[in-house]
Symmetry: C2
Subunit: 407 residues, 2 copies
């Protein structure tokens, strides 16, 4: 009997999930509903013992939400009787050996691997980004930016330099716009707290492309820009940055804007692990098969920011979003069950329910279905979307604990 | 009738008070009780539109008290029908011309002058203090130190350098000990907030003299040091600092301690205005006559940090304290009334009611009368002393608004 058990254990396939973000957590929790503990061993590896809501981080980064509202312990999301959690940092996949090495030197074996390791900032070759800008959309990164911002306001009256209260956001995409929305909403409060005259504070959003929020409906873009301009934000569109320095940014053409706070939000590329592990890739993103496996690797699924999937309607890649990563986690869980228990693998098709960008306070813009939303109705929808992602991760309990009141 | 009024106005002496600290505010408020608006014109000049409790600032500097609890608008303390308030920075006294020039170029005339312009840090010739340390015990200075400290904790997990969580207090006098008391009390909370392991945080108090709290009862000093050491503070006594650098401090002998946060608390010297104005002085402090006038200047009173008075029992100067500045303000108000209405000028004799140093939380040490106090009874007394200074400044209303609950 004992021998039998050992054999069963040895024969159970090992599923290894890398990453505790949206894709990894959803894969893990859905897998436990598809496969029992007697059928499979599931291991989740994540750098932190907590999961965080990446799409919420513009709020704690600007100081409008406590960062702890945007994170939750991983062991509150997974059932540790069914999923083994290892806190560690994946460094390289060795697909031929079916192993993953961690930063601490440990190696983990797998039969099936799910790579959901997220993104890093894309610099587009601009120098100084990693040295001189805030670019980490993580819990630690958001906390650092928030405290840096308060520190700059606190310094101003001891040494009133313009660069202390000049804030530059590089990139007028989703992240840049949502961040400046929160910051511009909070600036009057910061001015009051630190006795800084409001007219001393400068906020810039600098974008290389010919419009803010490229791809978004022009009427909504105009609404957002007007609103932010009324809060004191200055847009410099069609204006590439040539360098980030210790003093601020240098624009193409040579103009310099001095600032102690440059926020880099021009978009992301995949995690360098992808390149290091030898998967065929473009900017560390793998053009995955329709069932989300890496081409030529029957036992490796890649999802989230490192997966490249094409929107065939416009023949361009889908932007990497939480919405898609969550849906991919659900598909991968089903496809792993099919591989292990037998059955047909599903093709992944994103179901884009809507896109809403918050602009701080009770303001937002968005498209849901084919309906445009502005102001408080968009803001309401944004909060509902945020709550929905909590519900998928942790059910009603998590929504009650961390959710946002839309009313 | 109208002409008479103009004449009366012209003949009323102008009393000019420089400084909105303890001495200046008490002088102004007590004066209005000694002399009526038809007898005198009173003008108060202060850099800020608020008064602050300098002796409380170690708390907001460490983040254990909201800085707004330690300040109050000057117009809430003085009766603006009786005292004219000018927000400005006194730059030089011209005693021969009976004028004071302000930083904005304006000049104010006086018949009687009260100089209560506070202190600046004493560096004892150590280089780098003003460039690389936190040394301003002001509202703005406390705010900057507090936000800097939080910023250092927020940076640590992005780049775990020891110097971010190493805190060096130069000086184990009253200010240094009270500050490290608050910081050491708060560190566990900061560690929790920013996910920093407690054992990574280092706190040093470095003192050139052969003991901490020189002049204090040795039993109380030992109590304080034991308590602080138990909270993780390391004392380096008998250890002069030879330089403060951008990287930390260099000790005499060459040892270097790296830190992004050096707090300079080795004591103060008088305000440079004293030297600039040609008063005979020692380190910008004037050895005032017994009635608190500057020697050779019948119309100039100097009080607070810029006044040097000798404790004849030990033949050494009294340390400049809030307690003494407040008592001097009361004496100066009476002496001005005597000068204007006729009468005998009083000699100033400090009435030292007690000295209590807070150590954070419910801990303190002190001497009241000839009784030594430890722990919560000393802490109770400290809060009562803080409330008493509020009561002198603004009566019961101010105690209720800003006071500290000792229970």
């Amino acid at each position: 009997m004992k021998k039998m058990e050992v054999m069963t254990l040895a024969m159970k396939p090992n599923i290894l999930i890398l990453g505790g973000g949206y894709g990894g957590i959803v894969t893990a929790t859905k897998l436990t509903k598809e496969l029992g503990v007697n059928e499979v061993n599931i291991t989740l590896v994540s750098k932190h013992e907590y999961h965080y809501q990446t799409t919420w981080l513009h709020e704690p980064a600007a100081g409008t939400l406590d960062v702890d509202r945007a994170r939750m312990p991983i062991n509150s999301l997974i059932d540790e009787n069914k999923v083994k959690f290892i806190q560690g940092e994946a460094e390289q996949v060795h697909p031929e050996e079916k192993k993953v090495s961690l930063a601490n030197g440990e190696q983990l074996e797998y039969d099936y691997l799910v790579v959901s390791v997220g993104a890093i900032p894309e610099t587009f070759g601009v120098g100084g980004v990693f040295e001189h800008s805030f670019n980490k959309w993580t819990v630690n990164g958001a906390r650092e930016l928030k405290e840096h911002t308060e520190y700059m306001f606190a310094k101003y009256n001891n040494d009133p330099r313009d660069e202390y209260v000049t804030f530059i956001v590089a990139g007028a995409g989703f992240t840049g716009i949502e961040y400046i929305g929160e910051l511009s909403e909070r600036v009057p409060e910061l001015c009051k707290k630190y006795d800084v005259p409001l007219n001393k504070v400068k906020m810039y959003v600098i974008e290389a492309a010919p419009s803010a929020l490229p791809g978004f409906d022009p009427e909504l873009v105009e609404y957002a820009m007007n609103l932010l301009e009324n809060r004191g934000v200055e847009f410099k569109i069609n204006t590439p940055i040539s360098e980030v320095t210790a003093e601020g940014v240098v624009l193409k053409g040579g103009e310099e804007i001095k600032s102690e706070t440059v926020i880099w939000a021009t978009g992301v590329r995949g995690n360098p692990i992808i390149e290091k592990s030898g998967f065929e890739n473009m900017r560390a993103r793998v053009k995955v098969d329709k069932d989300l496996r890496a081409p030529g690797h029957e036992d490796v699924f890649i999802i989230g920011d490192c997966a490249l999937i094409i929107n065939e309607e416009i023949n361009r890649p889908y932007p990497p979003t939480a919405q898609i990563a969550i849906q991919q986690g659900e598909t991968v869980a089903k496809n792993l069950a099919a591989l292990i228990k037998g059955g047909q693998l599903q093709e992944f098709k994103p179901d884009i329910k809507g896109t809403v960008a918050s602009l701080g306070g009770k303001e937002a813009i968005g498209v849901v279905g084919d309906k445009k939303l502005f102001g408080s109705s968009a803001s309401f929808m944004k909060k509902m979307i945020d709550n929905r992602s909590l519900w998928i991760l942790g059910g009603t309990g998590l929504v009650l604990k961390k959710g946002k009141n839309p009313f």
